[in-house]
């Protein structure tokens, strides 16, 4: 049997390559965005770090989205190719190794963004400390915890969306398999469209309820600001686990590779 660690290592090799390209483009885009400022002046006064953080944050969102989308595509390829489905491992192991390796690779994107934040912090220690001291007046401040859990929520949100993407993909494969051979492509497109619409509608329907649930401990205790992201992380984890169980069942009983 293939070892779980080996499986993660193999997946990670491919995924780090994907994320590496995204990070390279991200760093290049942030630095290149500073070039016009070199000629206009602001780079040489005290504002350069503000400008850098601004561009880093802007390009960072694009990089995070791009890396998320490319990793989602890479995840889905695993379920329909013989390269991975022939491996002597259970579908549960295959699914979790696939998702876990994407999770690890995605952390690298966050770390690249963190480097720009740290550079900003190093050149603006006093400003940042003053800002933190005033922003959380009246709360029990545990900034490190807030940051750790906010980071975790960011990562878990992506894992949650990857699980949703897998559900849509695997359900489409399952339904298509039961339909006649003719006009498969059209049927596939229609099923994808219908499932994506259903997911978006469900998401907006439960979003308000979900936000209230995530703020519940904050509203009750009112002093532990860091509890809000903890609660959100927990909800995301439970939902991701439920989706995982459904996806593994579909892999086990319905979804096969392309012939």
């Amino acid at each position: 049997m293939t070892d779980f660690k080996q499986l993660v290592r193999v997946f990670l090799t491919d995924k780090i390559r994907i994320v590496g390209s995204v990070i390279t483009v991200y760093v290049a885009a942030t630095l290149l965005s500073l070039v016009p400022a070199l000629f206009n002046g602001p780079v040489f006064d005290k504002c350069w770090s503000n400008l850098m953080l601004l561009y880093a944050a802007g390009w960072g969102s694009v990089a995070a989205l791009l890396a998320g989308a490319l990793l989602a595509y890479s995840n889905e390829k695993v379920y329909r190719t013989n390269r991975y489905r022939l491996l002597p491992v259970s579908n549960g192991k295959l699914y979790s190794a696939n998702l876990f390796s994407s999770f690890l690779a995605y952390i690298l994107v966050f770390l690249a963004e963190l480097i720009f934040v740290l550079i900003y912090y190093l050149f603006n220690i006093k400003t940042v400390r003053a800002l933190i001291a005033h922003s959380f007046a009246g709360f029990e401040l545990r900034l490190s915890l807030i940051l750790v859990f906010a980071f975790l929520v960011g990562l878990l949100t992506m894992v949650f969306w990857w699980s949703i993407a897998s559900l849509v993909h695997l359900l489409t494969a399952t339904i298509t398999r039961t339909l006649p051979d003719k006009h498969q492509l059209i049927a596939q497109c229609l099923i994808y469209a219908a499932l994506i619409m259903a997911v978006v509608r469900t998401y907006f329907a439960v979003k308000a309820w979900w936000s209230q649930l995530a703020d519940l401990p904050f509203m009750v205790t009112s002093v532990n600001a860091y509890l809000s992201p903890v609660w959100a992380a927990l909800i995301l984890l439970v939902l991701t686990l439920v989706l995982g169980v459904i996806n593994v069942w579909l892999l086990e009983h319905q979804v096969e590779t392309k012939q």
């Binding site: 013989n82 390269r83 489905r85 022939l86 319905q254 096969e256």
Partner: protein, 236 residues
Amino acid sequence: MEKTLELSAVSYQRNQQLILNQINLTVAPGTIIGLLGENGSGKTTLMRCIAGLAQGVTGQIFINGHSSVVERKAQVSYLDALGGFSRRTKIADVVEFYAAVYPDFNVDQYRELSDFLKNINGQQKLGDLSQGQKEKLLLSLALARQTAVYLLDEPFKGLDNHTRKQLLRSLVQWKSPDSVIIICDHYLTELTGVLDEVVILNERQLVAREKISRLKQQQISLEDYYEQQLVQKWGE
């Protein structure tokens, strides 16, 4: 009878079509079987069922007594077209992948096979390989695993006449004495030399099975036997 592979009432349906219907087959250790049939008769699907790739298979498949899909996958080496690797992947990376994920992959045997087949060097990319070179690589990868069953689906399609004959002769020497090989190909005359048995699939069913030694005794060529079986089936 000792058996490495056993299929019992195996049926498979997809896209509202019955593709395999009640296949029964028992294969003794060390046997090399030729799986013949027209295009669309279900040969590749049968191999996919044995390899554990097909879902919703009814009936039972045992390899050395194991029926669970994971156990079966561990005991089957399936000649795959390397789907899932990009055209830019280097051969060395493919070999590294096989060595990492298949505990039974023997790198030394791969090198031996690769040298014998005058394979390309490890730095070449998959996209740069000719069809023949690709087939040689696939065969080297499939045969370098130490498994109970080898499933070779059209393994010689891109190979020149000389390499094909050379490879067929060597199949017997590379395989371990107990392992089973199932070959599905259209080069019937050349296959006869290495096969122990032939199995014919037609219209989703297994219609005939015969030992090659018996055909030789009766002085019937494999082509003639194949034709006879199909004509007989059409007559019905």
